[in-house]
């Protein structure tokens, strides 16, 4: 069987880079995609503007040039169509990596996601499985137009059969994305728009994976546990740094995967510190922060020395008003206030 995607003549070598030079998260994501395309002929990348243009954030920059338009292609503008395409390709045994241009624009695909993406293995008792990855930039902080700053991760986390991964830094982003592509089941991969370029870090230039379902201790501490992910990690870090100045030792857990949640790591830390602050930038009611709080309330009640405090967006749409939108997203100041609340309780 001659696989069109195998035609190696179209494959230009990935550019070499200096491993000691820090790179952005979007560059790390680009590198992971490039590597996946090179290693596995079943990997296909598609979405709106991902091909010729290389994506609105340049996450797929250069990939079509190196791997050909069979492997990396632009689709018509229709998210349900993109998700359905990915599901169909997955049914047929390929490894589609679809991009939703913004998380706020994945909503038209929710029927495909809720009705099928997470159900196919279950309903066919594993006859059909969906090794599909969906990438979507999410969250606020960079003054995008209306509807471009949504954080709908709790909605996807509520869908059985779909994993949800949200990296907070370049090294994790690359390894988690490679793990997502290698995963035999559907993985949603949310990428903080704010983090795409705000932070550079050294990234292992080789192939490696970061396990899905394992949180990471971002910062060790004893007095309280801050639980966060994605774009909130750097915000919490700054709050923890400030708290350290006041003699408070905060442990930060970067969940990395929110579904399945690494409850073991969360609970171990909370049992140690006795205090939990959970930070997300999604609307308050029924956000994923609430799931984390619920797990703690169910499993670590005896260890709690203070209320479980959530620092979140508000029960209003992410505001399209540039001058004030930064007050919607949790700031180090708001996290610091929560830290005080649990410490002074």
């Amino acid at each position: 069987m001659t696989a069109v995607g195998d035609k190696k003549q179209t494959l230009a070598a990935a550019p070499q880079r200096d491993a000691s030079k820090p790179i952005t998260m979007v560059a790390a994501i680009n590198e992971a995609l490039d590597m996946a395309l090179t290693r596995d002929p079943d990997v296909y990348i598609f979405g709106e503007d991902v091909g010729v243009m290389g994506g609105v954030f340049r996450a797929t920059d250069g990939l079509q040039a190196r791997h050909g338009v069979e492997r990396v292609f632009d689709t018509p503008l229709a998210e349900a169509g993109i998700m359905g395409l990915g599901i169909g390709m997955g049914l047929a045994g390929l490894k589609p990596v679809a991009e939703m241009q913004f998380a706020g624009f994945l909503y038209p695909a929710l029927d495909q996601i809720m009705s099928h993406l997470g159900r196919y293995r279950h309903r066919t008792r594993s006859r059909f499985t969906l090794p599909v990855v969906v990438r979507a930039p999410y969250g606020g902080g960079v003054h995008t137009p209306e509807q471009h700053a949504d954080s709908p991760e709790a909605v996807i986390a509520h869908v059985p059969g779909v994993k949800v991964v949200i990296p907070s830094n370049p090294q994790d982003a690359k390894g988690l994305l490679l793990a997502a592509i290698a995963d035999p089941d559907p993985v949603f991969f949310f990428e903080s728009i704010k983090m795409y370029r705000s932070l550079k870090a050294e990234v292992d230039p080789g192939y490696y994976t970061v396990p899905i379902g394992q949180a990471r201790i971002h910062r060790a501490g004893d007095d309280l546990t801050i639980i966060c992910y994605g774009g909130m990690v750097e915000v919490c870090d700054r709050a923890a740094e400030a708290a350290a100045g006041a003699g408070i030792s905060a442990e930060i857990i970067d969940l990395r995967t929110i579904s399945p949640l690494d409850t073991a790591t969360v609970l171990e830390s909370v049992r140690k510190t006795g205090r939990a602050v959970i930070v997300t930038e999604a609307p308050r009611t029924a956000g994923f922060h609430s799931e984390v709080a619920a797990v703690i309330a169910e499993e670590a009640i005896d260890s709690l020395l203070a209320p479980v405090v959530r620092v979140t967006g508000f029960d209003a749409p992410y505001p399209p008003f540039t001058a004030i939108e930064d007050s919607y997203r949790p700031t180090p100041t708001r996290v610091a206030k929560a830290i005080r609340r649990v410490m002074e309780y």
């Binding site: 995607g5 359905g84 169909g88 997955g90 049914l91 009705s115 279950h122 499985t129 399945p260």
Partner: protein, 388 residues
């Protein structure tokens, strides 16, 4: 301002009459400038060869051997449909959506595939699935809502029946595109109803297939009804095949109760897709003479007049007349055929009866390749409860 359809309907008073008025009136404006697209038809409802000019002159009448084989397919799936009603009444089958009267549309389309091709059926398309090759025992198990009915055989490329309307269309494009990317000549066929053609996924699927040149055959079974809503209230369009043009895709219309025409058209579309020439939309014009499901009461929304005429268009009897007249089928040959079909069915039902019941813990199986810690804990919880 001219009266709207609904105003006409409102003044009409009683309900089915109101609906009939609505249907008639809504059609009017579209009908003005829009002539009905002609349908391919080889065999007339009287069972004679249609002597008129055909809208698709390139599409040939299938040969007698194929004709007989197609007749058998229809008989076989009609048997299932009829027996399903009985099993339902006996409490041995769940809520089943019948397709009786639509056999030509289902068998004639699916018969054009091999099992290397993909089939995406809806809940209405048990007949298509059986024709494609889904084992009867498994099909019975499916309509008993047993997990055994959902595990599709590894050597078939058929999905379980789709319930969320229209979602299968873009997925079929994905499967078809995957075949093309792999360099095979396999195609994907997806079914939809007249109601389903109103969903956005119908549009996105067809447009993607056109834009990406996916080897897809889209079957739109226009059976006149979406539960209680007649096609004329579903859309102002006279016919649905015309939508294909808007995607640069050929749209064909065929008498959905003439299996020879259905088969011939579908075969041509399948070959076109295999040859890399892209997708086709085929509207099979048929009728749902049966209720929406075995549990539905159609008198709530339609009168006898609204279904009148369609019983005489029965696809099985139509081909039978023709084959008997041609001598391709004999009464004895038919009797033997029916016996075989019946025996095959009874054996399959016995096999289905013998399938073990699932256990509650299976609820949380097959969610991921590796169960998460959460699912392991939940499985233990169910097991504990089950044994308590």
């Amino acid at each position: 301002m001219s009266k709207t359809s609904t105003e006409v309907a409102a003044s009409a008073g009683t309900l089915p009459a109101a609906q009939a008025a609505m249907a008639a009136s809504v059609l009017q404006p579209a009908a003005e400038g829009q002539p009905e697209v002609p349908m391919l038809q080889f065999i007339t409802p009287q069972g004679t060869l249609n002597a008129g000019e055909q809208p698709l002159p390139d599409v040939p009448l299938p040969d007698p051997e194929t004709q007989l084989w197609l007749y058998r397919q229809m008989r076989r799936i009609r048997h299932f449909d009829e027996r399903a009603w009985v099993l339902y009444r006996q409490g041995k089958m769940g809520v089943f959506p019948p397709y009786g009267g639509m056999e030509a549309s289902q068998a004639g389309t699916a018969a054009a595939l091999t099992t290397q091709d993909w089939l995406f059926p809806t809940y209405r398309d048990t007949g298509a699935a059986l024709t494609y090759g889904l084992p009867i025992a498994q099909t019975v198990a499916y309509w008993r809502s047993s997990p055994h009915g959902w595990y599709m055989p590894e050597d078939l490329k058929i999905t379980p029946f789709y319930i969320p309307i229209a979602t299968q269309y873009p997925q079929a494009v994905g499967a078809a595109l995957a075949e093309r990317k792999r360099g095979t000549r396999n195609v994907a066929m997806a079914f939809i109803g007249d109601g389903g053609s109103s969903e956005g996924d119908f549009h996105e699927g067809l447009n993607f297939a056109g834009a990406l040149n996916a080897p897809c055959v889209f079957i739109l079974q226009n059976n006149g009804w979406a539960i209680s809503v007649p096609t004329a209230a579903q859309t102002r369009a006279r016919d649905l095949s015309r939508r294909a043009e808007g995607y640069g895709v050929p749209g064909l219309r065929v008498d959905g109760n003439d299996i020879l025409a259905v088969y011939a058209v579908t075969k041509a579309a399948v070959e076109r897709a295999r040859g890399g020439e892209g997708p086709t939309l085929i509207e099979t014009v048929t009728f749902r003479i049966k209720p929406h499901t075995v549990a539905d009461d159609p008198t709530r929304y339609r009168t006898d007049e609204m279904t009148a005429g369609w019983d005489t268009k029965d696809p099985v009897l139509r081909l039978r007349e023709y084959l008997l007249a041609q001598g391709t089928l004999t009464e004895e040959g038919e009797a033997a055929m029916l016996d075989e079909i019946s025996a095959e069915f009874e054996e399959a039902v016995a096999a289905a009866d013998a399938l073990p019941d699932p256990t509650p813990a299976e609820i949380v199986d097959h969610v991921f390749a590796q169960p998460t810690p959460q699912l392991r804990a939940q499985r233990a919880e169910i097991m504990e409860e089950d044994s308590a």
